[in-house]
Amino acid sequence: MASRGKSLIGKVPLVILQLAIAFLVLAPFFWMLSVSLKPANEPFAIPARLWPDNPTLENYILAFRPEFRRYFLNSIIVSGATVLITVPLALLAAYSLTRYQFRILSVFLAAVILAQFFPAGAMIIPIYKMVKAANLLDTYASLIIAYITVTLPVAIWMLRGFLTRVPKTLEEAAAIDGARPLRAFFDIVIPLARPGIVATTVFVLIVTWQEFLFALSFTSTKEMRTLPVGMNDYIGQYGIRYGELMASSVMVSLPVIVIFFFLQRQFVSGLTAGAVKG
């Protein structure tokens, strides 16, 4: 039996590793915040300062232009619509895939994952042509359709993992208790799969919120731009306005961080629940 002291010593390398990873992950966030609070002349001051001497919100005021607000709204519309369509669709698809066993379904499931083999860059030209042929360029619909295409397969696979963990006995018990399949789905399956639904929702939200390539390709006017593309505005031909870029980066990241903060418990339990059997 290992003594307590030994197991503590054994943990030291692990803790050091965790701290190192945490530093790698958090350092850019810290730098982003720091730069966003620096006056215009300070980001490149030598020697570099970790934290501004005179923190200022002027970058935020400058960054929060009407265009930015427009991009923000566009991002909310596009991401929101994608989540609202992808998650329910994926839920229904994943449910059928776990509860009904036909050979054709496993073929379908394989096809779903096959779609993920192609990187967005490889698909962008055909999708662009389709969007153009459908007269959807520079519309919300073009982005929403493209995002559903990209997120739906992963969402189906994620939810399928969670739904297989909802014991079939419970639905049978509900059937005996008089519930029709749809009723049992809403009363039993959805509440039990909630961590998975939350995890999937967060995943879809993050993917669409930060998506750049499709958004850049399909939209041409400022009215339709989303945040990731809009932030390009600060990268000009003659210079990059780092203060405002970082200030808007903070504002773009904030909703995701807030959502994650409130859902992290469910998200983590969702992730581990999917991984550990029983």
Binding site: T169, E172, A173, A174, I176, D177, G178, R180, R183, D187
Partner: protein, 370 residues
């Protein structure tokens, strides 16, 4: 209340036959136990009655109505699952009340009936808890309360006690028996535990390999098993079955010979329960053998004796002292011999001339509950 009738019911999955041509009449108010080893088709049979699986062939009637095409919820039955099947995200009260909620019973009446059902299984104190916060026995009682809350015509119970520890199983068994007696609701109960079957059942239906082996009152089956499978399956320790030859009115074995006047010549299995046999002085028994093991059971001693290649178990009084390696005599009780055909394994007709496989439920439930 309702009777249940299975008419030549079969269930096949591809080339696998899980239930093979089972016909069974269950009387109104009867407690019928489906007994058999795992994989014998007993659970599948029950699931077809429940409507969770569809029969490949045959008809299932509840009352006078063929229910083959009815959804489980429309068959007016309740089921207790082996792993309880409680909804983990609902409280005990919500679990018990769910069938009523689905049936759109008003909230006030629902609360009242949930409370009454919970009181019946002594769960009132736990109504606000979630199933995770309950012990196995308590979960079992929640499942029971959910079954009785809407007074269905039929109870189905799929090994409801198998996940409980031995002591709790005995007390829950008594509670179940009492509850079923009080409610007088027709009950089908699936188990592989022959003690549960013996203690709970009005009649037992023994199944093996998808086929019905014998149906009858527990004591009838115990006393007159229809074939070697039933003989070996019911009873603990199980019946000794010794291959022998019937010849000239006697049963001939290398080690012994017994009179058997009514048996036709041929191969037979001689069966006798351990409690009907006796350990004697080496020279006084029907045969003699070396003691293979001697186990004290408490109320008796189980002495296993070598008989050529076989082992014969004898349940002796607890004061019989036999040590491993001793040579003892063993005697049969000729009045309690069970004889089975050496080929088919079917029971050979004895002096009364009967070897019936299905005995009907003897009396209507009403007579027992005036």
């Amino acid at each position: 209340m309702a009777s249940v009738t299975l008419k030549s019911v079969s269930k096949r999955w591809g080339s696998v036959t899980a239930v093979d041509d089972v016909s069974l009449d269950i009387a109104d108010g009867e407690f019928m136990v489906l007994l058999g080893p795992s994989g014998c088709g007993k659970t599948t049979t029950m699931r077809m009655v429940a409507g969770l699986d569809d029969p490949s062939e045959g008809d299932i009637l509840i009352g006078d109505r063929v229910v083959n095409d009815l959804a489980p919820g429309d068959r007016d039955l309740a089921m207790v699952f082996q792993n309880y099947g409680l909804y983990p995200h609902m409280t005990v009260a919500e679990n018990i009340g769910y069938p009523l909620k689905v049936a759109r019973v008003g909230k006030a009446e629902r609360t009242e009936r949930v409370r009454a059902a919970a009181a019946r299984v002594e769960l009132e104190a736990y109504l606000e808890r979630k199933p995770q916060a309950l012990s196995g026995g308590q979960r079992q009682r929640v499942a029971l309360a959910r079954a009785i809350v809407r007074t269905p015509r039929l109870f189905l119970m799929d090994e409801p006690l198998s996940n409980l520890d031995a002591k709790l199983r005995v007390s829950m068994r008594a509670q179940l028996k009492h509850l079923q007696h009080e409610l007088a609701t027709t009950t089908i109960y699936v188990t592989h535990d022959q003690v549960e079957a013996m203690t709970l059942a009005d009649r037992v239906a023994v199944m093996s390999k998808g086929k019905l082996q014998q149906v009858g009152a527990p004591l009838d089956i115990y006393n007159r098993p229809a074939n070697v499978f039933v003989a070996g399956f019911l009873g603990n320790p199980s019946m000794n079955l010794i291959a022998a030859q019937a010849e000239g009115g006697r049963l001939i074995h290398a080690a012994f010979s017994l009179p058997a006047d009514t048996v036709r010549p041929g191969k037979v299995f001689v069966g006798q329960r351990p409690e009907d046999m006796k350990v004697t002085e080496p020279e006084k028994g029907d045969f003699r053998g070396e003691v293979f093991s001697a186990e004290l059971l408490g109320d008796a001693a189980l002495i296993t004796v070598r008989l050529n290649g076989d082992l014969v178990a004898v349940k002796a009084p607890k004061d019989v002292r036999a040590r491993m390696g001793d040579v003892v005599g063993v005697s049969f009780d000729p009045a309690m011999l069970h004889l089975f055909d050496g080929q088919s394994g079917e029971r050979l007709a004895d002096r009364n001339g009967e070897a019936g496989k299905v005995t009907p439920f003897p009396q209507a439930r009403g007579e027992r509950h005036p």
